[in-house]
C-alpha cells in the first residue's frame, strides 16, 4: 500500500487565509465562475475570488478542490484539481478553514 506523503501537508485555505501561506502548499475549494485559457476564476468559500493557474477547465458552477502552491495573494498554482460536483456546502468548508488555521492549527500542521 502506498504510503501517504505527509512531507508537505496542504493547508486548508479560503481567499483570506491564502494570503498567509504564500509559497506554501495549500488546498481550497472554489466554485467555478469562469474558465480562461488554462486559468480558472472561482469564488472561494468566504466569497472572495481565487484564480487557479495551470488547471484544466471545469464546468461553471461546479465546485472544485484545488491543491497547489499559493503564488499570489489571490492565486494558486494548481497541482491537483478534483471536481466535487454541483453541490457542496461552502459554509461548512469555510468553517473548517477557519478552525484549521485558528485555534486548532496544531492539529493540522
Amino acid at each position: 500500500m502506498m504510503r501517504m506523503d505527509t512531507s508537505s501537508p496542504a493547508v486548508f485555505v479560503n481567499a483570506e487565509i491564502l494570503k498567509m501561506y504564500l509559497g506554501r502548499r495549500v488546498r481550497a475549494v472554489i466554485q467555478v465562475m469562469r474558465n480562461d485559457a488554462g486559468v480558472i476564476v472561482g469564488q472561494s468559500t468566504d466569497g472572495n475570488q481565487i484564480t487557479v493557474k495551470g488547471a484544466q477547465a471545469f464546468p461553471p458552477a461546479h465546485f472544485v478542490e484545488v491543491i497547489g502552491i499559493a503564488d499570489g495573494s489571490q492565486s494558486i498554482r494548481a497541482e491537483i484539481c478534483t471536481d466535487f460536483g454541483e453541490s457542496f456546502d461552502m459554509t461548512a468548508y469555510n468553517g473548517l478553514c477557519q478552525l484549521a488555521n485558528g485555534k486548532f492549527k496544531n492539529l493540522f500542521l
Binding site: 501537508p9 461548512a92 473548517l96 478552525l99 484549521a100 486548532f104 496544531n106 492539529l107 493540522f108 500542521l109
Partner: protein
C-alpha cells in the same frame, strides 16, 4: 361627605357639546338602572347624571360595569367623567360614558336637577342656589338661565317647533343655521344637527334612553344626517346617531322619512373617533387605523349556501384594535384595496359583538362592512399609529395561561427541529415544525409552526440556527395549548417576526449574549410521547447509561449518530395480524394454525395471509460506546432498504442465503442518525433500559458539518477550563504497581455542566485537576487494554478514585468527576481530557469528526506504551 363640587353647567355643556378637550366634568349619578338589551345579552347600565341643576340620560360603557356591581358606583355617587360622548339617539340625547372615576361613592342628593331640555328655556329654569338641599354643596348657579338665553339668542340654532312635544318650548323661531345645515327643510321642521336644537327629552323620562315622542316624524333621522363641526366643539366624537334604534324595547319604531326636500349632504370632514369608542349605539363614525393583519379570502359553504369572507385587523393611534369582516360582494369590493401596514379611514360599517372564538383582539365588537361602507386610504403616513401592537408575556407566565388562550411572546430560538409532514385527523397533510423559545424568565417553551409557517419563517429560522446564530423570534397571537406541558402553536392569524427591531428584541439579544446562552432553561413543555416527534437532543451512546436515560416515568427521546456494527439475523421479523383495528392495523403477533392460516388472538380471527413486520435487533457504536437497539417496521425498512416480507421470502422461501447476507452486510459500518426512544422496562424482575429506533436516517454531511461547527463554536465560547501547570510527579507506568511519593493536586474546581459540548447533566459534576498518584496493574478487559489509575486529591478530602481510560501517565489530568454520594466522595470518574497531550484535547473528539479528509491527528498514547523508571 366630601365637599366635592359638581361642575357647574356640566350637563348643559355636555349636551350642547361645549365641553373642551381634556375637561372632565364632575357630576352626580342621580340614578342607576340595569337594562338588558334585546340584541345582546350584555348588561348595560343606564344612568341619570346631574350637575345639581340639570339631569341627562347616560349609558355606561360595559367595561365600567364592575363599578356598579361592586357598589362603588351607585345612586348619588359623585363621579368625574373622564371620557364620554354625547350622542343623539332617536332624538334623545344620551351621554355615553367610556371612562369615569368615582370620586365619592356615598353622597347625598345634590340639588333638584331637572331633566335637561335645551330647547325649552322656560322649562328648565334651574333652581336657584338657595334652593339646593344641601347647603354646603355649591350648586350650579344661575348660569343656566343665561345659558339658555345664550342658546337661543347667540348661537345660531334651529329650534324645532311643531314637531316637538307639548312640553317643549313653543319657540318657533326659525333661526338660520350654520352653513352646513343649509337647505334643510321639511314640513316646516327645520332641524339641525346642532346639539342645541335637538329636542330634549321630556321632563319626566320614565323609560330613559331613547324614548321617542310621537311627534317627531323625521327629525331624529334628519338630525342625524348632518354633523356640525362647529357645534360639536371640542368633542372628539361627533354626536351622531345610528341608523337604527338600539333599544327597541322602549322605542317606537322609527318613523319613516316623509318630508325630505333637497337634503344637503354634509361635506364636513369626518370626525375620527378612537376605535375604543366604537359601539353599536354610535351613529356615524369614522376611524383612522392601520391594517396590522389581513386574512385570506376564504370560501365557505354552509347550509345557507356558499359565500366568501375575509377579515383584517386594525390598530389606531390610541392602541385600540378591532377586526373588520367582509362577506361576499363586499369582500370582493375591498379585498384588493386593503394592504397590511397601510392606514385607512373607514366609516359606515356596522358594529356587532365580536366572535370570541375567532377574534382574539381586545375589543368586544367587530366591524362588518357593507356595500355602502367607505374605505379611504390615507396617503400620508401617520406615525402616531403603531405598526403592530404586542402584549408580550414572559415564558414563565405562559405556563399559567389557559389552554387555547392567545398570547404574544418574544424569545430566543435556542433549538429548532426540521419540519415534518403530519397527517391530520381528517386526512389532509400539513407541515409541522417545532422549536424551543427561551427568554429572560429563564424558562423555555416549545413553539409549533403549522402549515405555511414551516416553509417560510420555519426554514429561515432553521438556516439561522444551523449556522450557529440564535435569532430573536416574536409571535403575535400564538395559541397556548396544554399538549405536553404548555406549548404555543401558530394559528391562521398568528404573525411571526424574526429579529424584529423592537426594544424588547434588543434587550433579549443582549441578555442572551451575556448570560442567557449559558443558562440552562427549564422547559415548560415536557417531552412528549408522540412517535413522530423529531428531537434534536443529541447524545452519545455512553450518555444513555451515564445519565440514566429512560429511567423516569416517561421515555427519553434522543438522537445519536452511530454506526451499525452488527445485525442479529435470527428472528428479524415476526408474523403480524393485518386486520384493521380502528384506523391502524392490529399488528399483534399471530399464531400459525398449522394449516396455512393464521390466527390473531386479539381480533379472534383467522386469515390465510399474515403481514411480516420487522423486529430487528442490532448493535450500534459511536466513539463513546455501544448499545443494542431494536427497530420496528419503519425503522427496519429505512435501514435495510427492503420490506420485511421481501426479506422473509428471500430467506425462507427462496432460500437465497447469499443475497440475504449481502443485504445485511450492506448496512454494516454505515453511520446513521438514529432517533431513539429510551425507556426502562421490566423483564422478569429485571430492569433493563431498552432503546428503540423511531427513525433512522443517513447522515447528511452538510447539516452534520454545520451541527459540528455549532458545537465547536459552543465549546470555544464556554469558559475555558483552567489548566494549571504543576508537574511534580513520581513517574509511573501502566505496567506495574508503583509506590508514589507526594501528590499534588491543584484544585481549580469548577462545576461545569456542559463539558466539551457533550451534555453531562450529572449532579455535581466537577472538573478537577489531579495528578496520578498511582497506577494499578494493568487490567485487561475484553475489548481494550486500559490502565487504571488511582488518583488522589487530598486537599479536597475526597477519596481515591478509580479512573479508566486511555490515559497518559506522568500527566496532569483533568478529570470529570461524578459525585454520587452525598459525602462528596468521588465515586466514579472518566477522563475526558488529558492536559499533557494536547491543549485542545477537549475538542478533539468533535473536531476529528468533522474532518472529511484525514488530517494529521496525533495519536493518543496508551499507558502501556510508556514505561519510565523513577
Amino acid at each position: 361627605m366630601a365637599a366635592v363640587d359638581l361642575t357647574r353647567g356640566a350637563i348643559a355643556a355636555i349636551s350642547e357639546g361645549r365641553v373642551k378637550d381634556g375637561v372632565k366634568p364632575v357630576v352626580q349619578v342621580w340614578e342607576v338602572k340595569l337594562v338588558n338589551t334585546q340584541q345582546s345579552t350584555t348588561e348595560r347600565y343606564r344612568m341619570l347624571l346631574s350637575d345639581g341643576a340639570h339631569m341627562q340620560q347616560a349609558m355606561l360603557a360595559t367595561q365600567m360595569n364592575g363599578l356598579v356591581k361592586l357598589g362603588t358606583l351607585q345612586k348619588h355617587s359623585i363621579v368625574r367623567l373622564d371620557e364620554f360622548i354625547c350622542n343623539v339617539i332617536q332624538n334623545r340625547r344620551i351621554i355615553i360614558i367610556i371612562n369615569l372615576e368615582v370620586l365619592v361613592s356615598n353622597s347625598n342628593a345634590i340639588g333638584e336637577p331637572k331633566l335637561y331640555d335645551n330647547g325649552s328655556a322656560s322649562q328648565n329654569r334651574v333652581p336657584s342656589p338657595a334652593q339646593s338641599t344641601s347647603a354646603d354643596q355649591p350648586v350650579i348657579a344661575a348660569e343656566n338661565p343665561q345659558n339658555y338665553g345664550g342658546i337661543h339668542s347667540s348661537t345660531p340654532n334651529i329650534v324645532q317647533n311643531v314637531t316637538r312635544g307639548p312640553s317643549l318650548s313653543p319657540a318657533t323661531e326659525a333661526v338660520t343655521t350654520n352653513s352646513s345645515f343649509a337647505g334643510y327643510y321639511g314640513n316646516g321642521v327645520m332641524s339641525s344637527r346642532n346639539t342645541n336644537s335637538v329636542p330634549s327629552e321630556h321632563p319626566k323620562s320614565e323609560q330613559g334612553v331613547g324614548r321617542i315622542s310621537e311627534s317627531h316624524p323625521n327629525s331624529g333621522y334628519q338630525n342625524q344626517r348632518l354633523s356640525s363641526p362647529a357645534s360639536v366643539g371640542a368633542f372628539r366624537p361627533p354626536a351622531s346617531s345610528y341608523g337604527h334604534p338600539v333599544q327597541p324595547a322602549y322605542q317606537q319604531p322609527p318613523p319613516m322619512y316623509t318630508n325630505r326636500g333637497p337634503i344637503a349632504k354634509n361635506e364636513a370632514p369626518a370626525r375620527i373617533i378612537p376605535i375604543a369608542a366604537l359601539n353599536p349605539y354610535q351613529g356615524r363614525w369614522t376611524i383612522k387605523a392601520r391594517v396590522t393583519t389581513k386574512g385570506e379570502l376564504r370560501r365557505y359553504s354552509n347550509p345557507r349556501g356558499e359565500g366568501k369572507v375575509f377579515s383584517f385587523d386594525l390598530l389606531d393611534s390610541d392602541g385600540g384594535e378591532i377586526r373588520v369582516t367582509c362577506f361576499n360582494m363586499v369582500a370582493d369590493q375591498f379585498y384588493d384595496q386593503i394592504e397590511v401596514g397601510k392606514v385607512y379611514l373607514i366609516s359606515k360599517g356596522s358594529l356587532k359583538p365580536a366572535r370570541k372564538s375567532f377574534n382574539h383582539l381586545n375589543n368586544e365588537y367587530e366591524i362588518f362592512l357593507e356595500s355602502q361602507s367607505v374605505i379611504q386610504p390615507c396617503s400620508e403616513e401617520d406615525n402616531t399609529i403603531p405598526r403592530q401592537q404586542f402584549n408580550f408575556r414572559p415564558v414563565n407566565e405562559v405556563e399559567g395561561l389557559e389552554n387555547n388562550s392567545m398570547v404574544d411572546v418574544i424569545g430566543i430560538v435556542v433549538s429548532i427541529n426540521p419540519s415534518a409532514s403530519i397527517t391530520r385527523k381528517n386526512g389532509t397533510e400539513t407541515n409541522k415544525q417545532t422549536l424551543q423559545l427561551k427568554d429572560m424568565s429563564g424558562r423555555s417553551v416549545e413553539v409549533t409552526f403549522w402549515g405555511n409557517f414551516c416553509s417560510t419563517e420555519g426554514q429561515q429560522l432553521q438556516r439561522m440556527c444551523d449556522s450557529g446564530v440564535y435569532p430573536v423570534l416574536a409571535i403575535k397571537a400564538g395559541r397556548v395549548s396544554d399538549f405536553s406541558g404548555k406549548s404555543i402553536g401558530t394559528i391562521g392569524s398568528s404573525q411571526l417576526f424574526i429579529n424584529p427591531d423592537f426594544p424588547e428584541a434588543h434587550r433579549l439579544k443582549d441578555w442572551y449574549n451575556r448570560e442567557g446562552k449559558n443558562m440552562s432553561a427549564l422547559s415548560i413543555s415536557r417531552d412528549t410521547t408522540t412517535m413522530s416527534r423529531n428531537d434534536v437532543v443529541r447524545k452519545t451512546l455512553s450518555q444513555i447509561k451515564d445519565e440514566g436515560l429512560g429511567r423516569s416515568e416517561k421515555p427519553d427521546w434522543i438522537t445519536v449518530k452511530a454506526t451499525i456494527t452488527f445485525v442479529k439475523v435470527d428472528n428479524f421479523c415476526y408474523t403480524a395480524c393485518p386486520l384493521m383495528v380502528g384506523d391502524r392495523p392490529c399488528n399483534k403477533k399471530v399464531n400459525n394454525n398449522g394449516d396455512g392460516t393464521w390466527h390473531c388472538d386479539r381480533c379472534d380471527q383467522s386469515f390465510p395471509e399474515c403481514d411480516y413486520r420487522y423486529l430487528l435487533q442490532f448493535q450500534i457504536q459511536d466513539h463513546t460506546g455501544m448499545t443494542w437497539v431494536t427497530a420496528f417496521q419503519e425503522g427496519g425498512e429505512e435501514i435495510l432498504g427492503v420490506t420485511a416480507k421481501e426479506l422473509y421470502l428471500l430467506k425462507y422461501q427462496e432460500q437465497d442465503d447469499l443475497k440475504f447476507a449481502e443485504i445485511i452486510r450492506r448496512v454494516l459500518f454505515h453511520q446513521h442518525l438514529f432517533k431513539l426512544k429510551v425507556k426502562e422496562e421490566t423483564f422478569s424482575d429485571e430492569q433493563r433500559v431498552k432503546s428503540t429506533i423511531v427513525k433512522a436516517e443517513k447522515v447528511n454531511p452538510s447539516s452534520e458539518s454545520r451541527y459540528l461547527l455549532g458545537l465547536i463554536e459552543k465549546l470555544l465560547t464556554e469558559d475555558p477550563i483552567v489548566v494549571s501547570g504543576m508537574q511534580t510527579f513520581a513517574s509511573t507506568s501502566g505496567m506495574s504497581t508503583v509506590a508514589y511519593g507526594m501528590v499534588e493536586s491543584n484544585n481549580s474546581v469548577h462545576s461545569v455542566t456542559n463539558n466539551f459540548g457533550i451534555n453531562n447533566i450529572t449532579l455535581s459534576t466537577t472538573v478537577q485537576e489531579v495528578q496520578i498518584a498511582r497506577v494499578n496493574p494493568l487490567e485487561v478487559d475484553s475489548q481494550t487494554v486500559v490502565p487504571t489509575f488511582v488518583l488522589n486529591a487530598n486537599n479536597l478530602g475526597i477519596g481515591p478514585v478509580n479512573v479508566r481510560d486511555k490515559v497518559l501517565p506522568h500527566q496532569h489530568m483533568e478529570v470529570v468527576v461524578h459525585q454520587e454520594d452525598t459525602t462528596g466522595n468521588m465515586v466514579g470518574s472518566e477522563i475526558l481530557s488529558a492536559t499533557g497531550l494536547l491543549p485542545e484535547a477537549c475538542s478533539l473528539i468533535v473536531v476529528c469528526e468533522m474532518l472529511v479528509l484525514i488530517a494529521f491527528i496525533p495519536t493518543v498514547m496508551l499507558g502501556s506504551t510508556s514505561v519510565s523508571a523513577n
